[in-house]
Amino acid sequence: MMDGPALRAAEDFAHAGYPKSAAAILLCELDGAAHDVEEEIARVTALLTTSGASEVRLARDEDERKRFWAGRKGAFPAVGRIAPDYYCIDGTIPRRSLPKVLTEIGRLAESHGLGVANVFHAGDGNLHPLILYDAGKPGDMEAAEALGGAILELCVEVGGAITGEHGVGREKINQMCSQFSDAEREAFFALKRAFDPKGLLNPGKTIPTLARCAEYGHMHVHAGQVSHPHLERF
């Protein structure tokens, strides 16, 4: 799924054939045995229409199918053309909280003074908000980093995760303090020591130390114990 800003950037970049006036588009691939796919197409088309789609189009041929996907796969570089820089976030949420989370991301973006284009793996709740910023502008990169962190914490609050596929690495080391308790992180370190007692393999990544979490100062916000009171709880 792509929202308006993302789909328009992708369309200008890849000429995928997306309707630029739409507020959002959803791509849904069905594969398998030929007969089954025909049945599924009918079923899913009906479902999408009853859930409010203004138009549902089936790619006519392999060429058009590839073009539809090219737009999605090229969405990141495409967004790179509408802003000097972009920062790709990768959180996961339960699918049922998607409408709420989208609204909240919009609110957070506004309060950080930055734009966001949204690309999701809709079927599994994996969000890729692309934060638009300008590294040449003083403070913009820091604001993008802060907004990214806030979005990931939002994902944890609704019962999701700080990373769906890009990993923690260095980038999300602080948000690990939000998703896991001291004891949970200590268990990860203990597992690491079972393989690498001196801690030589990829230090400073993936599992934050107690000292880092203390310094970063964030509370453990397991789903349920939360700080955004206006969000509905699940």
Binding site: G32, P94, G125, T163, K192, F195
Partner: protein, 348 residues
């Protein structure tokens, strides 16, 4: 619906303080799977209840003592199921026991194993602290996948408190077909079929005939069945294969399960031989334990397990560096070694 986390944590803390081993017990239906544990019972059966189930999210979260039968009935009411087709060895079988033993049924080679459907767990560690690994979403790569590690760890890394499982809609149609093909010919045939995108969901050879199950959309199942031919048979065969109540598994003092590469030769030891998992698991019903089975399985890049008749060793011996790593992993999560010590291996 009872949450016994606090009491269980107290028991674990006391056991760790006194260095008393604990024998973790669910419904007791899988107690035979593994070596006997000499310890005080830690009873999970009353820590039960479904915590959250939203069919549209395709996730169910329940306490470890919840009977599997209750979970499967609830899912069936919503036309959903557990794709790993867990075996049932009695009505008392619990979710915790299913996850700790990690066993999957005949669907395994087609739709994945139990561990592929575990999204998250809450466990008690050796300090009696409740830890949550994973969560309720499919895509989640934060931290090590300690939740998948718990699947099949036989309770030796922690006490499972609750588990979130991914569920799926039931297939619209299922059919079972029988074929007069030998063990080897049947295996070769299914290996060839698996190179095509067919709606297969079971392939079992009982020693005499090949049985194939198809699951999926109407059209795909009908066209595969028309192409395969064979003889239509009742679907009730499959629960018998899953639960090992089919005659192919019965009537011998010893029952071996030998997991092996699908294209490796089938074992040739004394006894009756059947295979499941499209030829990826051989079941050998024998009169006595032939230790050559361990060596043969290892040579084939597989492993053997004694499902019946074990004396001491139940699971395939581990290579020494791997066993040492297992011991370090256990010590990392259970430093006082109180959780089911020795259940998998001596000294673990």
């Amino acid at each position: 619906m009872t949450d016994l986390t606090a009491q269980l944590a107290d028991q674990v803390r006391a056991a760790t303080a006194a260095a008393t081993p604990l024998r973790i017990e669910g419904g007791g239906t899988r107690a035979w799977y593994g070596r006997p544990v000499d310890g005080q019972p830690l009873k999970l059966a009353d820590h039960k209840g479904v915590i959250d189930y939203d069919p549209s999210e395709l996730v169910i979260t329940a306490r470890a003592g919840t009977p599997m039968a209750e979970i499967e009935t609830l899912l069936a009411e919503h036309h959903q199921m557990l794709c790993f087709e867990p075996p049932s060895f009695g009505a008392a079988g619990t979710l915790g026991g299913a996850v700790a033993t990690g066993l999957s049924g005949p669907r395994r080679p087609f739709t994945g194993a139990l561990r592929d459907y575990v999204l998250g767990v809450r466990v008690l560690d050796g300090q009696g602290e409740a830890l949550r690994f994973g969560g309720t979403v499919f895509k989640n790569v934060a931290g090590f996948d300690a939740f998948r590690l718990m699947a099949g760890a036989q309770g030796s890394l922690g006490v499972l408190l609750d588990v979130s499982l991914r569920v799926f809609p039931r297939p619209r149609v299922e059919r079972s077909l029988a074929f007069d093909l030998s063990r080897d010919a049947g295996r070769d045939w299914i290996i060839e079929q698996m190179r095509r995108p067919l709606p297969l969901s079971g392939a079992f050879h009982d020693g005499h005939r090949l049985h194939v199950r198809l699951s999926g959309g109407e059209a795909a199942v009908a066209s595969a069945a028309a192409e395969f031919g064979g003889e239509d048979e009742a679907l009730d065969l499959w629960p018998q294969v899953r639960d090992l109540t089919h005659p192919a598994f019965q009537g011998s003092p010893v029952l071996w399960r030998i997991a092996l590469p699908q294209t490796a030769p089938l074992p040739e030891f004394d006894g009756r031989l059947a295979w499941d998992w499209a030829g990826g698991v051989a079941w050998l019903a024998a009169d006595e334990i032939d230790p050559q089975v361990w060596t043969w399985a290892a040579r084939m890049d597989g492993h053997a397990t004694l499902f019946r008749g074990a004396k001491g060793q139940v699971f395939q011996p581990l290579a020494s560096p791997i066993l040492k790593l297992h011991q370090r992993i256990k010590a990392a999560l259970d430093p006082a070694s109180v959780f089911n010590p020795g259940r998998m291996y001596e000294g673990l």
